[in-house]
Structures are given as C-alpha cells and as structure tokens.
C-alpha cells in the first residue's frame, strides 16, 4: 500500500510537483486570471495561516477537533474490535448481532444526524456518536474477517498447549489478527476524520469544521483556505502517526 511514509522511490522528488502547482497557482493569481476573493494566492493563504498561528487562534479549534477525533476514533476502534472478535469467536453472538450490523452498516451515517440530535442533543455526544458509527463498522468487519481468516494451524498450535479461552483471545487471536484490525482502523481513520469535520459543521460551536463553515458563510475565503491547509496537515499527521504506530505494532506485517 502506498503510504506517505514510504517514498516509493521518490525521495527528494516528492516536493517538486507540488511546488510547480503552487507556482502556477501563484502566478495565475498575480496575473489576475483568478478571482482573488474566491481563490486567494498561496502566499496570501500562507500569510493568513501565519497570522492565525501567531495570534494563537489556531489552538482552540485544533484542540477541539483533535480531541473529538481521538475520543471518537478510540471508541470506534475499541468497540469495532470487541464486537468483531465476539462475533468471530462465538456462533451465538454472531447470530445475535449479524442482522443488526448488516442493517445499520449500509446506512449513510450523515442520514442518522436527526435521530442523534433527538436522543443525544446537539453537542459532544452526537458528534462522538457520529464518528464512532462511521468508524466502527470498517474495524468490525475487518476484525471479523481477520479472525475468521486466521490459519487453523496457528489456532491448533495454541490449543495443543492447553491454553484457556481468554488467553487464546488475548495472546493468540488478538495479536494474530492485528494486521487486519489495523487495516480496518486505517479505513476508519479516514472516515473518522471526514465525520469529525461534518459533525463540527453540524453540531459544534468550535473546531476546524465549525470554523470552515463559519468563514464560508461570512465569505472570508482566505481564512477558510488557511483552515483547510491546517486540516490537510492534521490529516497527514494523523496518518503518519498511524503508520508509525502500525509499524511498531506489527513489525512482522507482510513477512510471514
């Protein structure tokens, strides 16, 4: 899988094409080919970003967004993994939960917003629920598939050493399916970020999503772009953190 941390044989060249695009963009702006109100020049966006950082105004929304994401993503990961393992290791739980999961999974999560508003109010709980709902299904499905796809040889090896059921799950099933669980989490990471922004647009009084929408409504396009840059950096940083975590958690990935 191409990932930002692996340069795919690109190395120092990675910066070239973005630089060219930025130059063309800047030039187009300076030559008046673009409407500066709708599409500010890169330098203007950078200036707006710098002002944002200098004023410290970047902090509160960033903390809000990151906090929301971390809480939501963690919950999604834990719940998804837990239910996935439960369904994969118990026929009874599988029968109980599978129809419900199959019913809820294909619903586009934004469509559930009114229900969430009704039961959880307009605020933190709804936002977290949105992120969790979006993130838990990919984790759940890929955990389930990961556990079911485990090689019988592995499980039988463990069984012949007479281990308890809980130890079987904790020290064999969980680590062995970790690569698949993490693959699910990688999908959840992307979806979670999308939903965090959406949730903030819908139900927050703070956060990057809220800021972007607010700035758009008052037509402060330059600042809006600055926030989008912040968002891209944030997204890239999260993926990077995930990559590093994954490499440390499953150093054997793709080698056995």
């Amino acid at each position: 899988m191409p990932r930002s941390s692996e340069p795919d044989g690109i190395g120092y060249w990675a910066g070239v094409s973005p630089a060219i695009v930025l130059c063309i963009w800047e030039l187009a702006g300076r030559l008046g080919w673009t409407n500066p109100i709708l599409l500010p020049n890169p330098t203007q966006i950078v200036a707006a970003l710098a002002a944002l950082v200098a004023s410290g105004g970047i902090l509160t929304p960033l903390v809000h967004t990151v906090g929301l994401f971390v809480v939501g993503f963690t919950l999604a990961a834990v719940i998804g993994t837990g239910i996935g393992i439960a369904m994969a290791t118990s026929r009874r739980l599988y029968g109980l939960l599978e129809p419900l999961v199959e019913m809820l999974r294909p619903i586009p999560k934004p469509a559930l917003v009114p229900v969430l508003f009704l039961f959880l109010g307009i605020g933190k709980a709804t936002m977290i629920a949105l992120v969790v709902l979006a993130g838990m299904f990919p984790v759940l499905i890929s955990t389930y598939q990961g556990v079911r796809g485990l090689d019988p040889v592995l499980l039988e090896t463990a069984r012949t050493f007479q281990i308890s059921r809980s130890r079987m799950i904790a020290s064999i099933i969980l680590p062995a399916s970790l690569p698949m669980i993490l693959a699910g989490m990688r999908v959840a990471l992307g979806l979670g970020l999308v939903l965090v922004i959406l949730a903030e647009m819908l139900a927050a009084q703070e956060g990057i999503g809220f800021r972007i929408l607010d700035l758009e409504r008052s037509f402060q396009i330059r600042d809006m772009f600055a926030w989008i840059v912040v968002l891209v950096l944030l997204g890239a940083a999260m993926m990077k953190v995930f990559d590093v975590a994954e490499r440390n958690l499953v150093p054997w990935r793709g080698r056995s």
Partner: protein, 272 residues
C-alpha cells in the same frame, strides 16, 4: 462445541449454510433482536415515552415507505442520487485504475503525481464542499466531482498496491516466453491485479452513495440527500425515515450484487 472451537473447524465445516431456513436458524436470535428493537421504537412513540415530532412510530414509517413507493417519487430521488453516484464512480474507477497501474509501473509519473495525490488524500469531503461550491457551483458538477474524489482513493490505492504486489514470478514467466511489454501488461499484469481492483471498487460502491447523499444534504436540490433535509423542514419525519430505509436497502443490495458479480467474473479471486 465451545466458542473458540468454532475457529478451529476447517473451511469446509464453516462454509455458509445454504437454504433460507438454515440461514434463519443461525440468525433467529438476531432477527428477534431487531424485531424487539423496532417494537420498542413503536411503543416509545405510541405511548409517548419519547415525545417529538421527529419520532414517528415504525408502523407509520412503513406506511410512508409504501406510499412513497406507490407515488414513485422516492424512486426519482433515488435515481437522481444514484445517477450522480454512478457517474462519479465511473470517473473515479477510470482514473483510479489507470493512475494506479501507470504510477506503479512508471517512476517518472510517480514522482510527478503521487505527492499531489497524497496531499489531497487527507482532505475531508465536507471541508472542501464550501470552497468547491465557489468553483463548481451547486449543480451536478459539484456533486459528481466530490463523489469521484472520494471514490478515487480506495480504487487507486488498491490498484497501485495490487500492481506492486504482482508476483515477480508471473512477470518473469511471461518474459521467458518472450511476451511483449504491452501483452505482459494486459494479459498478465492486468488480470493479476483484477482482484485487487475489485476490492477497491467494492469499497468505493458504498462510499460513492454516502458521499452523493452527503453532498446533496449540504448543497442539494434533488436526490435522496436533499429529500432528507426537505422532509425535515416540511415536518414529515415518516417520509425521512422511510427514505433512510430505502437508502440502506439500496446500499445493501448494491454490495450483494457486487459480490455476486465478483464471484462470477473473477473466479480466481483469492485463489493464487
């Protein structure tokens, strides 16, 4: 058989039951659970445990769903959404597959395009809708573009990874038979990546509908996403829930159809 034992039975023993009775057999408890939850919903609304204009009884939703179907209106909305989803999906597939293959095979293009793709990748869809409205307007162009953008990444990523993972033995085999570059590409590399591409395409089918609905909710004037908002403003939650139901059914059916096609068209999936 204990729960963990289940894990140890061979593939043959665990293969899915066939007849519908068998299907229900394993899932009877799950179906009961759903029925119980829906009954709870019905009661909570009828008996006033939850008081809200936006919490209609399930029976009313089902009635609305039936009326919608008879009226045909819901099908039009669904069709509008699906049309956008399909066009965006098709564009994303073409771009994702071509770029995935080309970038995996050409270092020059990889240097040029991969960094740009990596920059766009972490951009959450809702965040870019506002600026995009300013460029693409609110019409189909916007929604199709967003759908295409969101669907592009899973397709591109799996294709790219798939090509990179094509076993060297295969390509070497073709080489010893003195197969031309072009023929190696379409007769060896392409079929070898088809399973990976299919996996990406399947992920994207779910995604393209979600994103189409989302974009219609934010900047819509037709389609199911807009319908969801419109019915809320018209205080018709029964219609809204019914629409969600249709949406879920469509998503589910699409996934099933995709799996069925996959099984027929790519019999070698997961087999090499």
């Amino acid at each position: 058989m204990s729960a963990v034992d289940r894990l140890n039975v061979s593939d043959r023993e665990r293969s899915e039951p066939r007849s519908s009775r068998e299907w229900l057999g394993g899932r009877a408890s799950g179906v009961l659970l759903i029925v119980a939850l829906l009954s709870l919903w019905e009661l909570s609304s009828r008996l006033g445990w939850v008081v809200s204009a936006y919490w209609p009884p399930v029976s009313q939703i089902l009635a609305a769903a039936f009326a919608q179907l008879m009226g045909g209106e819901i099908l039009l909305s669904l069709a509008a959404t699906m049309r956008r989803a399909a066009i965006g999906y098709a564009a994303a597939s073409a771009a994702g597959i071509v770029l995935g293959i080309v970038l995996a095979r050409s270092r020059l293009l990889r240097c040029g395009l991969l960094p740009l793709i990596e920059i766009v990748r972490p951009m959450p869809t809702p965040a870019i809708i506002p600026p995009l409205i300013l460029f693409l307007g609110v019409d189909d162009a916007l929604k199709i573009f967003i759908v295409a953008l969101a669907s592009f990444f899973p397709i591109f990523t799996t294709t790219y990874a798939g090509v990179a993972a094509v076993d060297d033995t295969l390509i070497q085999t073709a080489r010893t038979f003195r197969t031309s570059w072009a023929r190696t590409l379409y007769a060896v590399v392409l079929p070898a990546v088809v399973p990976a591409i299919a996996a990406g395409l399947r992920t994207a089918t779910g995604l393209c509908i979600v994103v189409a609905v989302l974009s219609e909710m934010i900047a819509g004037s037709s389609g199911i996403g807009y319908y969801l908002i419109e019915t809320q403003y018209a205080m018709r939650p029964d219609l809204m829930y019914a629409a969600v139901l249709y949406l879920a059914l469509t998503g589910y059916a699409l996934n099933r159809v995709f799996l069925a096609i996959e099984m027929r068209a790519i019999p070698w999936m997961g087999k090499s």
